[in-house]
Amino acid sequence: MHEASAQPVVHRHAPPQGFIRKYVFSLDHKVIGLQYYGLALAAVFIGMVLSWLMRIHLGWPALPFPGLNKLSPNGAPGGLMTPEYYLSLMTMHGTIMVFFVLTNAPQAGFGNYFLPIQIGAEDMAFPRFNMMSFWVTFLAFVVLIAAFFVTDGPPISGWTAYAPLSAVGRDAGPGQALGQTLWGISIALFCIGQLLGSLNFISTTLDLRTRGMSLARMPYSTWAWFVTSVIGLLAFAVLLPACILLILDRVAGTSFFIPAGLVVSDKLQPHAGGSPLLWQHLFWFFGHPEVYIAILPSIGIVSHILPSFLRKNILGGARTVVGSLIAFGFLSYMVWGHHMFLSGMNPFSAILFSVPTLIITIPATIVVLLWLGSIYGAKIRFDSPALFCLGFISLFISGGISGFFLAQPSIDIQLHATYFVVAHFHLVMAVAAIFGIFAGTYFWAPKMFGRMMNETLAKWHFWLTFIGVYCIFMPMHYIGLAGNVRRYALFNDDYMIPMNPVHKFMTIAALATGAVQLIFLYNLFHTRFWGKKAPDNPWESTTLEWSTPSSPPPFDNFGGKYPVVYRSPYEFVEGGAADYVIQTSPVEVGTH
């Protein structure tokens, strides 16, 4: 019974009426996706400003920030940033970027919007969970930001919140009072939001695929969102209790992470029997999968976008790409100890953790080679999404390659906690993922807003950002090799002073690159309201999101019908009127 190309649908829930139900407490996965995207946008803006402040402080420590004393009288008396306030900003920058940007935008944002459409469902499996997961995440964000406004300011213990610094409270320094507790609560809430999201994603992917959309026919992006959700389901389930134990240590006087005989600011702490390493183990058991939660969706998005601009499928097709994705997910659990080589962990474990860490480079190399192999002999269309995908590949190589160093305990001895590490994870996890987000935005804007982004601005945005990020993060490798320690508010050690010029250079690059992002912001908002109308399938793409009756898609995505899928996601064939065949097309096409 495969004749009917589409069948009528019983609506799950009627289109909502009224502003609140439509745009605030909406059950529509498209609105929720945009809400996540908006939240991430706000978060990334805050995080970027924080990084500006930090960079300026590192470049010109004596330079006062007019008005910063308004935000924090203690942290920046007379606008002059104190070392502890630098650490506060650093902590908030890391937390905001890792959790509320890199986890939210590519996974929860684009995933919510496009996963149901790409599998031909008219919504997520559990719209109410979906709404809850967003609003819990939103609450988590508010709680985190609130830390800026409490008396002692935000925590100073970094996004990894190592105990005992994060566990003993006020004595450990400003920000470790209420600020750190808020941090813990915020992250615990965030875990709940993510767990709800993961449950929703997985059951949607497994149970709500339209007829013909077998697992093998799902787009790479859907696969990436699915694998990421599985990772998240297990990872956040471990961070949640860890956060609860940390909060208990702080407010209920337990000593899970605090050993006996601690004397902090000349006060003997009333704790005994805990272990700081336990926190590190629990945290990194989540923390390493987390970096794959951040990057996998971008890998999926890039692999999904590239075919439309190469006019051919990714080399090896679903089997190889999806295989690598799953390999990433599987391996990401066996390697958390490589963050702890020098943490006082048993030196034997270091070797046990180092081997799988190195093995992860195999799937990484495979995906890169697949991309390169697909570019070979293609007919590349250089629209902005394509450019950002190609930029992503370049950055992914640059950032991933330094993993070879940090995966080896013997080299980590020298590079651990230096700017080499900062360069590594910023390139491979942060900037690369952000490029994936940009690519996704330019690629899907026609679908999300029904309008085309301004191509000229987009291209300028790409060129400047691409050069900029290399100017910021490449030098970090060099000074890292020279032993420049990270998380310092000031470099006045004899052997670090000579590197200050490099820091000045990186600061300027960072400010410039940040300023360039305003082009993107302008382009985004201008497009949203006044951009030129987009055709239904501007990129001549093949997956279901381009088969919806309108852009943005109607409330039930396919206008009261379910599409029926007849073929694999990326079929491009030369000759004939169009060189691409959309998944819903039943017409037989010539061999290729």
Binding site: V230, S275, L278, H281, F285, N346, S349, L352
Partner: protein, 101 residues
């Protein structure tokens, strides 16, 4: 393959009795003066059997498609198994704890 037919309440009563017996055995063995390590091993084995029975019959895992079992259980065991990395350090807490010189 279609899910098998599932049994009635009488069968579950037998399972329930079995589980009770295992729990009883656990308590009995606790007082046989095993070393802590040995007792832990025994109790864990019994607990795993108990949980396995409950999963398979009470929670119908046996009557679902086998793919469900194979995609859920190994992943969980794998993830939990990895946490055994912890012991390498836990044991060290004794060896290299702060000793007054």
């Amino acid at each position: 393959m279609a899910p098998n037919r599932e049994p009635g309440l009488r069968f579950y009563v037998w399972v329930w009795i079995g589980l009770l017996i295992i729990a009883g055995v656990e308590v009995l063995l606790t007082y046989q003066g095993f070393s802590t390590g040995a007792l832990l091993a025994i109790l864990l084995i019994l607990a795993v059997c108990e949980a396995g029975i409950a999963l398979m019959y009470f929670m119908h895992l046996k009557y679902e498609r086998s793919t469900l079992f194979w995609s859920l259980i190994p992943v969980t065991i794998f993830a939990l198994f990895l946490m055994n990395h912890f012991w390498a350090d836990a044991l060290r807490l004794i060896k290299v704890r702060v000793v007054p010189f």
